[in-house]
């Protein structure tokens, strides 16, 4: 003889089990429907590609020590920092092949970031106080180019080849962002004495040097 309260408890447990089973089946169906709906979703917006623009690159040539301007068409973002990085990436891509006129391994991915800051007076460090807002928008700029450590480590050693790399970067930045009047270099985010044993990377390079520097093959 089963007591009455035990029968009642069994009935409640059975009902709860059935209710949980129904709930689980219902949740499973909803998840399945959601999955199917996800597979049906198609892209509705095409990714936006920056329009191609003309960029002037100062391309180095080891055989005569020259920097010659070349015009290339490439997608350029609107943001000046990203634009500078894109232009320098293209420049270093030109140097990547072993048979290039100025062979330097690494390519465009060697430019990690380019930061654009208000330019301090030549020969000084960072300005003590930021310039007024209107001057920041129109005044001269300092470009800080952060290169990858692998680029510096694999750069050929020599005064000419290192100088040409530095000057071509400075000249290319100035040609495409005329407000850039000075360039500083970092390697993996920190200052480095030289690029590959010769060219000084601790100083700011005036971009005017690139324009005025003449290299003559006799």
């Amino acid at each position: 003889m089963i007591p009455r309260h035990q029968k009642l408890l069994f009935g409640i447990l059975l009902a709860a089990s059935l209710a949980m089973g129904v709930t689980l089946w219902h949740l499973r169906e909803r998840a399945h429907q959601r999955l199917i709906a996800g597979q049906d979703s198609a892209p509705t917006h095409a990714p936006e590609v920056a329009p191609a623009e003309q960029a002037t690159l100062l391309v180095a040539n080891d055989s005569d020590g020259s920097l010659l301007p070349q015009v290339h068409s490439l997608p350029l973002p609107a943001d000046p920092g990203a634009r500078a990085r894109a232009v320098l990436g293209k420049l270093l891509d030109l140097y990547a092949p072993p048979d290039a006129a100025h062979p330097v391994p690494g390519g465009g991915s060697s430019v990690l970031q380019v930061f654009l800051l208000p330019a301090p007076p030549i020969g000084t460090g960072v300005p003590a106080s930021p310039p007024p807002q209107e001057k920041q928008q129109t005044g001269p700029q300092l470009a800080v180019v952060n290169l990858s450590g692998s680029f510096a480590a694999s750069h050929p050693s020599g005064i000419e080849t290192e100088t040409l790399t530095v000057l071509s970067i400075c000249g290319t930045l100035h040609a495409n962002l005329p407000r850039v009047t000075q360039v500083r270099f970092l390697v993996d985010g920190v200052e480095r004495p030289t690029l590959a044993g010769h060219a000084d990377l601790t100083r700011a390079y005036p971009t005017a040097d690139t324009v005025s520097t003449e290299r003559i093959r006799q």
């Binding site: 050929p156 050693s157 000419e160 080849t161 100088t163 030289t194 044993g197 010769h198 520097t213 006799q218």
Partner: protein, 234 residues
């Protein structure tokens, strides 16, 4: 009228005394030859190997060998030479400039080698020329000497061209050279190549090395007599 006659008499008497004193003065001693000092800076050394040449030779070995050869050539011509290193030793960049500045050199050559490019590359500091001042900043001390460094570069260029060696001239920022207070040129020797970039004389070519060293020595001899050098130091 009377005082005028006295004055004329005194003037002529003074003139006669001067003339007779000059006639009796002993002959002036011969002028000693001007001191002429060259500093040769063999780049790299010790832990700093510099670049690696095509034949596996290290840049530090090449520059030291060139420095020794050039020192012999200059010594044979009576030119005093100071070097920044005589062995495979690590010499700090500041120490190199200190040696050059203490020597009060008339010419400083920083010797380098590279597999890139062709011929000899002559580089002068890219610092903007400034008027000499009593106290110069260490990192930009070369600025007061840039004009004469360019003149020395011109003399080196002429001598190398006469030796049928192709030359590339340029400006750069080298930490040691930028601190030197002397006419300073960085000389980078690269293999000679033809128009198709084929090497016609490698860095291990003894004849090529001898031609470059002889041309540099001839240039420094020329520099000794050059009018640029005889100008007062800044």
């Amino acid at each position: 009228m009377r005082w005028t006659n006295w004055a004329l008499a005194a003037f002529f008497a003074g003139g006669l005394c001067e003339t007779s004193a000059a006639a009796q003065a002993p002959p002036a001693p011969p002028v000693p030859p001007a001191r002429f000092m060259v500093v040769l800076d063999a780049a790299h050394g010790g832990d700093d190997s510099g670049g690696r040449m095509a034949n596996g030779q290290l840049e530090k070995t090449f520059t030291l060998a060139l420095s020794v050869r050039l020192r012999s050539l200059l010594g044979a011509r009576g030119i005093q030479v100071a070097t920044t290193r005589e062995s495979d030793a690590t010499v700090d960049l500041n120490r190199r400039a200190e040696i050059a500045n203490r020597a009060r050199a008339d010419a400083c050559l920083s010797l380098h080698a590279s597999e890139s490019g062709s011929g000899v590359h002559l580089y002068v500091s890219s610092l903007a020329p400034v008027q000499p001042s009593r106290f110069a900043a260490w990192k930009t001390a070369q600025a007061a000497w840039v004009t004469r460094s360019l003149a020395l570069e011109g003399v080196l260029n002429s001598a190398l061209q006469q030796a049928q060696i192709s030359v590339i001239l340029g400006r750069t920022a080298l930490p040691a050279v930028d601190s030197m207070t002397c006419p300073a040129v960085a000389v980078e020797i690269a293999p000679e190549r033809d128009a198709d970039k084929k090497v016609t004389a490698g860095l291990d070519d003894a004849d090529y090395q001898a031609r470059v060293a002889a041309a540099l020595a001839a240039a420094l001899l020329e520099w000794r007599t050059d009018a640029w050098r005889t100008e007062a130091h800044p």
